[in-house]
Symmetry: C2
Subunit: 191 residues, 2 copies
Amino acid sequence: MAIGTRERIVDATAECFRRQGYAGTGLKQIAAEADAAFGSLYHFFPGGKEELGAEVIRWSGRMYMQLFIDIALEEPDVVAAVGRFFTDAARDVEASGFADACPIATVALEVSSTSEPLREACADVFASWLTSATEYFAGAGIERAQARRLALCMLSLLEGAFIFSRAMRTTEPVLVAGEAAATAVKEALAG
Amino acid sequence: MAIGTRERIVDATAECFRRQGYAGTGLKQIAAEADAAFGSLYHFFPGGKEELGAEVIRWSGRMYMQLFIDIALEEPDVVAAVGRFFTDAARDVEASGFADACPIATVALEVSSTSEPLREACADVFASWLTSATEYFAGAGIERAQARRLALCMLSLLEGAFIFSRAMRTTEPVLVAGEAAATAVKEALAG
């Protein structure tokens, strides 16, 4: 039961962060959406909103990477996996009314210059994504330095496209970015 | 004098939005940083923070587009202009201690699901950037549908790379994204 409450708090906070960011999310709203007593937030996160925020960033980062790993295991090759990561993302962002995209990006932009513990949590997540994507591309036979550049471009395309898709309420940016990312990987494999 | 105060308010608000976003920016902080009386905010923006926010988004969008236009006029060709837009951006974000990047992106992610007037302001700015970049590429001889895809990818690469650069405190993502964008334009011109 105690574990269930902590998980509900983390899950509800992640949802709030995706939709409205860090500064716009209050602990009262989190408690209400998690169906948790307000005091339980401080029980599980004695450091308050900043400690909860750092935990949610790291947890969301792991969840989001798992999404990509699941797709990579299902698809026959790297190009197909990259393509599907973007088409799935486009489908999901549209299904949520253009509310749910990256669980980290909004907070990352808000906190990069205002909270060092939260910036570090975002930086750690991004570094883990970059390392994993680089290893994934390198494992498919792409030279390591190029694999890192590809990983950076794929992730930048995705995050940037999410910004345009959410504001403009269209999947076009994510779909176009996905085609570009898949083409870049295909060319790197052929070269 | 009245014009000066309004301009200082808009300029200070844009700076706060870049560094800490919309929800994290209070009217008291804006008044202090603009060296303006608190009441003058409501004099110039009777609709309060949301009206000021929408004005700042549109003003910042025009300023940021002008940066690109200035570079495009100085550089000898499209590929050089795209490359320099990113190298200048990398230099500027580093010079600001990784605080100042896109003036719109943080707010866009925060408000896309919470304020329809602010979301519309962001969508209008993004649409104007996309249209201008598409026209710029088409004017260089790239077929229009491809020019739009290139514009979407260039802007997504830039916005996504800013997220990683600010959180990770390195210009690498912006520089790598810039090389990819310039290469994509070069290939489109050659094809």
